[in-house]
């Protein structure tokens, strides 16, 4: 009896030890994984195809409708040509777009901010946006009128990201200690980041209107500084191959670079197939982008995409 129970106890002890060993090994793997998670935090990636295919048909339709982007375009009267081009092209694909202008302009509808200072404009635009739309939108995309954005690709990119987390995404640049999102490539904020920003706006020590002690800092840098105080950090957005999806240059400029750095693989090396923004475009080139992105394509290829986006009503150039 005693020998049987001692065998039993030995068995339990051995089993327990083995179980502990396996668990420890498992934790080591998980530890490695969470390290990767922490690394991912600064280089944020699009969803994998596998992530996307695991969604059911019903989930896909729901997701497509639930991904809603509010677009903020900061404009000044001198940008009239670009402003018109943005209005007539890609901004029609935002679920809602608002032009925030330095001053009232008769020709176009906009929210007049009554300031010429880009940082003050940005602060005001975000503040008004938060107050009006905090319950209606989870994602906020700010752009300049020289930028062309593909909102569908932005929605796909944000697909599995939780907007209640503080996301601040775009084409990042490092300036000394500060990593900030370059405004030229477009700035994406989740509702949580916008909420924190609108709060810190009130703090004139940490986030003053007159930024910079000696000279004025660019507004995109100012934004990064303020957000940093709230625990929100810039993340560079990349596709599954590590290519930037927010671009601060035109397709042509990037092609030109590719022609000199890797002339054998120009189109392959240039840019992401899922790019979200290009910038520095002249108004007539916005129309070319609109046609090239939304219409011109080679016949005979169909896609198994997880989301479905319909063309916006009342538009003919997409």
């Amino acid at each position: 009896m005693i020998s049987e129970s001692s065998s039993f106890v030995k068995g339990v002890v051995l089993g327990g030890a083995f179980c502990m060993l396996v668990t420890l090994l498992g934790h080591m793997k998980v530890g490695h994984g969470s390290k990767a998670q922490r690394h991912e935090h600064h280089h944020i990636q699009a969803p994998n195809k596998e992530d996307v295919l695991s969604l059911s048909e019903g989930e896909r339709m729901e997701l497509s409708k639930s991904m809603r982007i509010y677009c903020i375009i900061l404009v000044k009267p001198k940008d009239l040509g670009h402003w018109a081009a943005v209005r007539e092209t890609w901004s029609k694909h935002c679920d809602k777009v608002e032009f925030y202008s330095s001053e009232n302009v008769k020709v176009f509808d906009s929210v007049a901010l009554n300031t010429n200072d880009m940082w003050v404009m940005m602060r005001k635009a975000y503040k008004i946006t938060y107050e009006r739309y905090k319950d209606e939108f989870s994602w906020f995309f700010l752009a300049y009128p020289t930028t062309f954005a593909i909102i569908e690709n932005l929605k796909y990119f944000l697909l599995k990201k939780d907007p209640s987390q503080p996301f601040y995404i775009g084409h990042t640049v490092k300036s000394g200690d500060l990593e900030y999102v370059d405004g030229e490539g477009g700035i994406v904020l989740s509702i949580e980041s916008l909420r924190r920003f609108s709060r810190i706006l009130e703090d004139s020590d940490k986030c003053p209107e007159q930024g910079g002690m000696i000279w004025k800092l660019a507004e995109d840098k100012q934004l990064a500084i303020c957000l940093k105080y709230t625990g929100v950090f810039a993340e560079n957005a990349e596709d599954s191959e590590g290519k930037d999806v927010f671009n601060t240059k035109t397709v042509s400029a990037l092609i030109k670079e590719a022609m000199s750095t890797h002339p054998q693989q120009v189109v392959d090396g240039c840019c992401s197939d899922m790019a979200i923004t290009f910038s520095g475009l002249a108004p007539n080139h916005m129309h070319v982008m609109m046609y090239g992105v939304y219409r011109l394509r080679p016949y005979g290829h169909t896609y198994n995409d997880a989301l479905v986006f319909l063309p916006p009503p009342g538009s003919d150039n997409d």
Binding site: R297, H301, D316
Partner: protein, 352 residues
Amino acid sequence: MGHPTTWRCLWNIPPHGGFHGTSQHMEGSIGHPTTWRCLWDIPPLGGCHGTSHHMEGAMGHPTTWRCLWAIPPSRVVHGHPSAPLSPAVNSSLAQALYERVRVLCWVMTSPSTLDTRARHVRATWARHCNMVLFMSSAPEPSFPAVGLPVGEGRHQLYWKTIRAFQYVHEHHLDEADWFLKADDDTFMVVANLRWLLAGRSPEVPLYLGKRFKPFVRQGYMSGGAGYVLSRGALRLLAAAFATGTCTHSSAVEDLALGQCLEKLGVAAGDSRDTQGRETFHPFPPERHLAQPLPHDRFYPQYSYYPVQWAAACCSDLSVSFHYVDAVQMHALEFLTHRLRPYGYRHRYRPHP
């Protein structure tokens, strides 16, 4: 015979009244083809040596004469179907069309633009042709480019076109169904050309392109925007030059070709899509997509169909644009074949 690389082909404007089928001397020096007389047939034993040589032939039977070329015919660039754009894409329809609607592309180029222009064509849209030939006035085996026996310059364009089609007819007639001509600053979307041609028979003499209306009753196709001949049309064209039915009538390539084709009964087709939008374009996209400028008033006078500007200018399934520089060639290839809006359901979704 059997050593085509040693052969040279020498050309000239045929004597007034056409070929007579008798033997002719060949005189003249390399580089001055306009002073040479036309000679044909299997070269004498030992091969041609590049300057003058005799030729014997049968009187009155020009069709027994053969044309010999500097580049052996096997040196062509064979294309491949568009690589699938990503694993989540189904390209079976494009693949099926690639196999069923075989397009041979020949690109009008020159020694001075091989590296500045043709190279970028070769790297981009030319890869989607079933077969591509680069037609120059000097052979360049490393490119590879065919050396046609012509000079360079605007006045030689029609000669170059004729010789290029003759070359293609001579060497590749059975390897393709449709024969496309493009310039080295033309951007093409070959998959869309196949869509356009899918329902048409290659045996029917037909040609398609950007249709212009002046001078030719049925219209003629813009050279720069690219145009495509059916195999039936190519047969008639080659025969017409062999018999002298068509001759080098002018230096204006596209117009002269259009006049010849009309004479031969080759129909000038309507290349517009099912919404009536143009597919071949004589200018770059930004010119068509913008509102017209004052100097654009000539374009409507030339265009066979009513000109539309801005969004209606261009089919979603456009086939060509012209005056495209090297950077834009790659940029358009990227915009057409790579960059896309995820999940987007296009407005224009025509049936196969």
